[in-house]
């Protein structure tokens, strides 16, 4: 966990690349990698929680809805810490899907009228400061940024 010091890298800069498969059980493993990265780079527990949760929601959506076949697919995750902010890039080879097209859910406190979907993306929007979607070479690229102030 002290490797950030040992290899001379500044604590406030670093990159973590993770490849996970399209299985929901992978979410817990991804979270462990993010937690270790956060610890090594001195990120607050609030920031680590936010990164994990936003990533969980995005990856869960991909695993649940992106694939039209039952085959194994790889999802690429790259976390980049760049001094003042942290960005998380998620790339998948599923069908074109822009999470930003999902409308904001109705959050009125009426249990019976409450829709089942849309909550995940709403949480992502709330936790992150900037979101960006691109379709590149038949792949979905979703980038989330969070300020570290």
């Amino acid at each position: 966990l002290g490797t950030a010091h040992l290899d001379g890298t500044a604590l406030s800069h670093g990159t973590l690349s993770i490849t996970c498969l399209n299985r929901l059980e992978e979410i817990g493993n991804v979270a462990q990698r993010i937690e270790a990265f956060g610890l090594a780079h001195g990120l607050s527990s609030e920031v680590v929680f936010a990164l994990n949760l936003a990533l969980d929601e995005v990856v869960t959506n991909i695993i649940s809805y992106a694939y039209v076949d039952a085959a194994e697919h790889e999802i690429g995750i790259r976390v980049t810490l760049d001094g003042k902010d942290v960005s998380v890039r998620v790339e998948d080879d599923g069908r074109a899907f822009n999470p930003l097209d999902i409308p904001k859910p109705d959050l009125r406190p009426d249990i019976d009228r409450r829709p089942v979907g849309g909550l995940g993306v709403h949480i992502v929007r709330s936790l992150m400061d900037a979101l960006e979607y691109r379709r590149v070479n038949d792949r979905n690229v979703f980038i989330m940024r969070k300020r570290l102030d």
Partner: protein, 112 residues
């Protein structure tokens, strides 16, 4: 995630320990459905040892509340600060009562 169930005079206390993500939330969902099928209408979710919740976990809480409608009582107890934040972002704090401890929540429901 680990789920602990206790029956306190008809009030079902559901202790949720660990992480509720899309992989583990079905475990809680099964347990809640079992309690509902047994005819229980008063549920306390003790969240004091829950470190993490995603929308999949929130949906289980909403499912319980929706299933019991206005006849039943679903309440939450002692969420940790970061889980509390997520409950607020999702607007669940405005839908379900949140008590400071499971003991308080159970005694509030016992009177009903």
């Amino acid at each position: 995630v680990d789920i602990h169930i206790a029956n306190a005079g008809g009030v079902i206390e559901i202790g949720v320990i660990g992480r509720l993500d899309s992989a583990t939330s079905p475990i809680l969902e099964d347990e809640v459905r079992t309690q509902l099928a047994a005819g229980h209408t008063r549920l306390v979710f003790d969240l004091s040892a829950l470190h993490y919740i995603s929308s999949a976990g929130l949906q289980v809480l909403l499912m319980a509340a929706r299933s019991l409608g206005r006849s039943g009582n679903v309440v939450l107890a002692a969420p940790q600060p970061m889980v509390q934040d997520i409950l607020e972002i999702a607007g669940i704090d405005a839908m379900l009562p949140i008590y400071g401890s499971a003991t308080e929540a159970v005694s509030a429901l016992k009177g009903r």
